[in-house]
Symmetry: C2
Subunit: 201 residues, 2 copies
DNA sequence: TGTACATCAGTGAACGCGCGTTCACTGATGTAC
DNA sequence: TGTACATCAGTGAACGCGCGTTCACTGATGTAC
């Protein structure tokens, strides 16, 4: 990796097949859904023989676990992006994180399902567990910054953000998904606000 | 079906294979998950040749659609059961419906996933669409009884009940799923209460 | 700077498997007369 | 009440398919000297 420069001729050694397989896996997930996801289809999409992924991920479960782990990182990123644009007070940050939660689910619904509604990845595996725990910890900290460490407050915020995301991503909240992005953000914010701890109740 | 009386000897004609396949399908779903669900495994479980289901459901998608439709009926039932035990005022009824929502997800997580996080059933099919619409309408009416027909209020209640259900069913809300049923009910109720319209805000 | 060699990252053929669907069939049931 | 017959609801063999995994292999890369 020191002096090689990228060229476009097909090479025997791919260069960064690991990353390419993750990209292809995501695309495959998005187009075919988890239920039709297969190792061979991903290899095909990456333009590589179907035995190649084994060198990087072991087996199909390894690939799915790595994909889900990557998903949790992107999931956190999406929240960070929103938070960076929001006011610094704890409440604004929490609401922004919620908007990022929804952003992610809408941008990558299949990945979202893989992370939250599939049992094909191995959630106890090394790449996955830390990534999903980081996401949970981030949420916990957001609630803590609001002055609560009550599990009920954490559950309330999480469940509400999650429910909106899941229903929107699967197209069940028709009236709401029909809204323009700004109006949708406003609606999500209003719903989340109801569920935050300590707003003078 | 007029003079036959049930006996226990295996018969060539099953009698009520349609219902038996739905039962077997649910069990299969619960044990193997959607992702491993197959027509053949269901037929096997029902003790019938793998070609038999075609007579009742056409193809695998037909069976899954019928299962999901049955799921939506049970889903409504679970809400009704809670509501029958609750006080008659609109708010108690709405909260009870939410508890029933959660009950269903916990009792039948795989069916819940089939209904809300799968694209294998055909949601526009004849058995399914009316069943899922009935569930949505029931929710809408509950919110209407509270004096609101604001889509935002509907979304708030639905998303929150759904989020709690989904996270609990997939075992993500560790602290909350560790609670005894009564305490869990209380927590769910408290969270839902926050999100109801018109409670003096 | 060159060379030998170990290691790494691919290939492609082969395997066995379970799947969904089709089909000709047959046993059971219900109905017309 | 009996009988002929149509229809219904199963069976089991067969098909073709895509899958995950294994394996011997080979081309490319990196490193020791």
């Amino acid at each position: 990796m020191t002096e090689t420069e990228p060229d476009d001729r097909p090479r025997y050694h791919h260069g960064d097949l690991q990353a390419a397989l993750l990209t292809a896996g995501e695309a495959e997930l998005a187009e075919a859904g988890i239920e039709a996801f297969s190792l061979r289809s991903v290899a095909r999409r990456a333009g590589v023989s179907h035995a190649a992924p084994a060198h990087h991920f072991g087996d199909v479960q390894g690939l799915l676990s790595a994909l889900a782990a990557e998903g949790f990182r992107l999931f956190l990123d999406a929240q960070m992006v929103r938070q960076a644009k929001a006011a610094p007070d704890a409440q604004s940050q929490m609401l922004a994180a919620g908007l990022g939660y929804v952003d992610f689910a809408l941008a990558r619904p299949a990945l979202f399902r893989l992370m939250f509604a599939s049992n094909r990845p191995l959630f106890e595996s090394e790449p996955l567990r830390p990534a999903s725990e980081a996401a949970f910890r981030h949420l916990e900290q957001g609630v803590a910054a609001l002055g609560s460490n009550d599990p009920l407050d954490i559950a309330a915020v999480w469940a509400t953000a999650h429910g909106i995301s899941d229903l929107l991503a699967s197209g069940r909240l028709k009236p709401m998904s029909a809204l323009a992005p700004e109006a949708r953000d406003a609606a999500v914010t209003e719903i989340l606000r109801r569920v935050l701890p300590d707003r003078g109740r």
